[in-house]
């Protein structure tokens, strides 16, 4: 949703936006991000999913990490990749989305009211309908 991007962009500096776009401009990194939104993959599991070395996957994860899209957590011998799980951030995101959806709806309602002739007002041309 466009609003999501606007919200993110509003909160970030130019440099951070560059990092964010750089991070998202690569298909493998987008896929890693998708997987870490859905679950908590380990770096070695991710490495098994792509035709590239463990080190190369680690580099991709580091780019995502720098952009603030994921965090890395050591769990035993595994490195777990997680998207941001902070509750407040999620609450904000969910409510921002809801707000964006309703702002769009209100705007469309408003346009519709202008468009649909008022049957009680002959000046709007709807009197004969």
């Amino acid at each position: 949703m466009l609003t999501y991007n606007q919200m993110v962009v509003d909160e970030l500096t130019d440099e951070a936006v560059d990092d964010l776009f750089h991070a998202l401009a690569d298909a493998t990194r987008r896929d890693i991000l998708r997987r870490s939104v859905r679950g908590e993959p380990s770096v070695s599991r991710l490495a098994g999913a792509y035709p590239m070395s463990f080190a190369a996957v680690q580099k991709h994860v580091a780019v995502l990490e720098r952009a603030g899209l994921v965090t890395k957590e050591r769990r035993g011998r595994e490195q777990i990749v997680r998207s941001d799980h902070d509750a407040v951030r999620r609450a904000r995101l969910a409510l921002d989305r809801l707000e964006a959806a309703w702002r769009g709806r209100v705007e469309r309602m408003s346009h519709l009211l202008e468009e649909i002739p008022d049957p009680d007002d002959p000046t709007t041309g709807g009197g004969d309908r």
């Binding site: 991007n5 987008r30 998207s83 999620r90 969910a94 921002d96 809801l98 702002r103 309602m109």
Partner: protein, 161 residues
């Protein structure tokens, strides 16, 4: 601007939005009560909604689907808790399976909509509450994926230009 105020409560998971329209409450109510009008604003332009069932009487129900740009369908439903034309409407809004039946795995929101005359027009107060924090997080996750898809789509468009 039509939207007068927006209040978000992260603890109560509640969005309260106030909007003013330059039309009497009866006409704003019609936008909710007439499914053909409702279809023209419920879904975003990229995902127009089609209402297959629309019964706003208390205990009644509404079912609809939104159609995406690639023809994919997203089903939704309302369970109407109370309706008082042209003043208020309360319903639960949820996601539906492909056959239109409510999908219990998916989050729901409680919506309360109130209309009142205000300054020669209508003031609409809309309150939307997530059922639980888990449901809200589920929606946020979906939003993140969706936002990601959009961001990627926009970048693709930029790169192709």
């Amino acid at each position: 601007m039509t939207v007068t105020s927006v209040d978000k409560d992260f603890d109560d998971l509640t969005l309260t939005l106030i909007a003013d329209f330059d039309a009497p409450p009866e006409r704003v109510w019609e936008l909710w009560a007439d499914p053909r009008k409702l279809e023209r604003w419920w879904g975003p332009p990229t995902h127009p909604a089609t209402f297959e069932r629309h019964d706003l009487s208390p205990g009644g129900g509404v079912s609809y689907y939104m159609t995406g740009p690639d023809g994919e369908r997203y089903g939704g439903w309302w369970q109407v808790t109370s309706a008082d034309a042209p003043k208020s409407l309360e319903f639960t809004d949820g996601f539906a399976n492909d056959d239109g039946t409510p999908n219990p795995e998916m989050p729901t929101t409680e919506v309360r909509m109130q209309l009142a005359e205000h300054g020669g027009g209508t003031r609409m107060e809309l309150r939307s509450v997530f059922g639980t924090r888990e449901q809200m997080e589920q929606l946020a996750e979906m939003g993140m994926e969706e936002g990601l898809k959009q961001a990627v789509g926009q970048m693709d468009a930029l790169l192709a230009a």
